[in-house]
């Protein structure tokens, strides 16, 4: 039995219908592909709910690996083990059509906006490190609350990862637009599978990730669920 963790609710396009076990959605598909490489059939994968902020607490973990759009950073890697990255993520800005952020193409132009963002995300770090806005960003428990604040006009724009940006502007906001995406940081930002520090399966998981990368399966999954990132302006 392979135990895989993720948070609840599990959001599209990473999961579908808040059900990680249906194999639908990018991360659900990745988890099953990795499991298959490790020698576990679909019915040998057990999902457990792991809230993001409990995934890195000390003590024994309730999962073999956790897949929850977690970006790999050196500070975080001191506390937990990460697999090699399975997705290169870019951060993007969403706003309402005709709002203050509409039409902005430069990072300079973003500075005077009031941003909303989910707590605990690298999106917040992007705002703080790259944009350095003049107003303190609003920080919410989840992206839903940030989206609500955007609808209410309490923030001018929100920052999320690009796939989420496509989902929100496509499914949740009537007049939402993707203003643009941030240029990828020097070393790139990648999602990794989170494991207990010193996890015995780290090497095997890394081999599995490498295998689905080289066989082209990961690319297929990415294309299927996250689709095209084309047509989005990159901020200069």
């Amino acid at each position: 039995m392979l135990t895989v963790g993720t948070d609840k609710p599990a959001y599209p396009p990473y999961f579908e219908n808040n059900n990680p076990a249906n194999g639908k959605g990018f991360e659900s598909a990745v988890a099953y592909a990795v499991a298959k490489q490790l020698g576990y059939a679909t019915n040998q994968v057990k999902w457990v709910v792991v809230p993001f902020n409990s995934s890195y607490q000390p003590g024994p973990k309730r999962f073999d690996f956790d897949i929850n759009e977690i970006s790999i950073t050196p500070q975080r890697a001191k506390v937990v083990d990460f697999s090699d990255g399975y997705y290169n993520v870019n951060q993007a800005v969403i706003a309402l059509k005709g709002g203050k952020a509409d039409g902005v193409t430069t990072i300079e132009g973003l500075k005077k906006l009031k941003f909303g963002v989910q707590v605990g995300t690298t999106s917040l770090q992007t705002i703080q490190d790259i944009v350095k806005p003049t107003q303190q960003p609003s920080v919410f428990n989840d992206t839903d609350a940030a989206t609500k604040a955007l609808k209410n006009g309490q923030v001018d724009a929100i920052v999320v990862d690009l796939p989420t940006a496509f989902y929100i502007t496509g499914a949740e906001l009537d007049n939402g637009i993707i203003v643009g995406q941030f240029p990828a940081p020097a070393k790139g930002e990648q999602f990794g599978l989170l494991m207990q520090k010193g996890s015995p399966i780290l090497t095997c998981v890394n081999q599995a990730v490498a295998a689905i990368k080289s066989s082209g399966e990961l690319q297929q999954i990415t294309d299927k669920w996250l689709g095209a990132g084309a047509g989005v302006v990159t901020f200069s």
């Binding site: 993001f52 902020n53 890195y56 607490q57 000390p58 003590g59 950073t73 500070q75 975080r76 001191k78 506390v79 937990v80 909303g116 707590v119 605990g120 995300t121 917040l124 770090q125 303190q136 960003p137 609003s138 920080v139 919410f140 428990n141 609350a145 609500k148 604040a149 609808k151 209410n152 006009g153 309490q154 923030v155």
Partner: protein, 284 residues
């Protein structure tokens, strides 16, 4: 013999000695048992197999130092919210308590409204109120109404706590003996004057400790406003926590809250003791 000394009751020096010895012995036992108990707890926790990991996760000095300035900056918002909300709550709650106390038949609708206010807002979780006011009211898009989340977050706290505190006031008002009221009215004071000069001064003094108790609780609940976006202490700590996967900033935030609530609690104790002394004057 001075006249003052003559008023003092006779004390047996031997008994005095005995009492002093006993006090010394009691103090000795108390401190010894405190030291032993603390040592046992510290030993029990630090000798646990997971202690090094827990220590690093929750009590890392370097994380504490790195996060403290931003947590402290967030805490200033908590203090601001607290100060504004506290004053408003004291006023609004008193108003509600007084409305509920009106006896003339013509005031029935006010009495009912006040009762409804208390019933509803005491029953609804504060967090839900914060969401409702902070996101719901701005979503109505009424012209000229602010959409500021700190304003609406404060309103939510005021509404919720006013419902509690008005009941505290009401308990105080009703604890004043009816004869006080009757005496005041028979002296020719109007019912407003009776309330203002006779009932309220006694009532408020009696409910000071429970009022302070509610304010200790309010102090912590200011953190709920964070769900609307403002970065207060707990949120600032959470941001740090998720970026480094280390929970020490949360402990830093907790220390700041404690730094305010403990003095408040001591003040409450002092007031209680003074009230007890005042009421038992002459009784030994």
């Amino acid at each position: 013999m001075t006249p003052a000394a003559a008023d003092l009751p006779y004390v047996d020096p031997e008994r005095q000695d005995h009492l002093r010895r006993r006090a010394r012995r009691d103090a000795g036992i108390a401190s010894l048992s405190t030291v032993v108990a603390l040592a046992l707890i510290v030993w029990g926790v630090t000798s646990a197999p997971g202690w090094p990991a827990v220590k690093e996760q929750f009590f890392s000095p370097s994380e504490f130092k790195a996060s403290f300035p931003s947590v402290l900056r967030g805490f200033l918002l908590n203090v601001k919210l607290f100060c504004v909300a506290e004053v408003l709550i004291l006023v609004v709650a008193l108003g509600i308590a007084l409305l509920r106390g009106l006896r003339a038949p013509v005031f029935l609708p006010f009495r009912l409204l006040a009762a409804l206010f208390v019933d509803v807002f005491r029953g609804v979780p504060t967090l839900l109120l914060v969401f409702l006011f902070g996101f719901g009211i701005p979503a109505l898009q009424i012209q000229g109404l602010t959409s500021s989340v700190t304003v609406w977050g404060t309103v939510a706290l005021v509404v919720s706590y006013s419902a509690y505190v008005s009941e505290v006031y009401r308990a105080g008002i009703e604890s004043v003996h009816p004869s006080q009221r009757a005496a005041a009215r028979s002296l020719g004071l109007s019912s407003f004057q009776t309330m203002r000069h006779v009932v309220l001064p006694q009532a408020v003094r009696r409910v000071l400790p429970p009022l302070l108790n509610d304010f200790v609780s309010l102090q912590k609940d200011t953190a709920l406003v964070a769900v609307l976006g403002p970065i207060e202490a707990l949120r600032a700590a959470q941001i740090y926590e998720s970026s480094d996967f280390n929970s020490t900033p949360l402990v830093a935030a907790a220390l700041l809250f404690i730094a305010i609530t403990i003095p408040l609690a001591r003040v409450t104790d002092r007031l209680l003791a003074r009230e007890r002394e005042r009421q038992t004057i002459g009784v030994r």
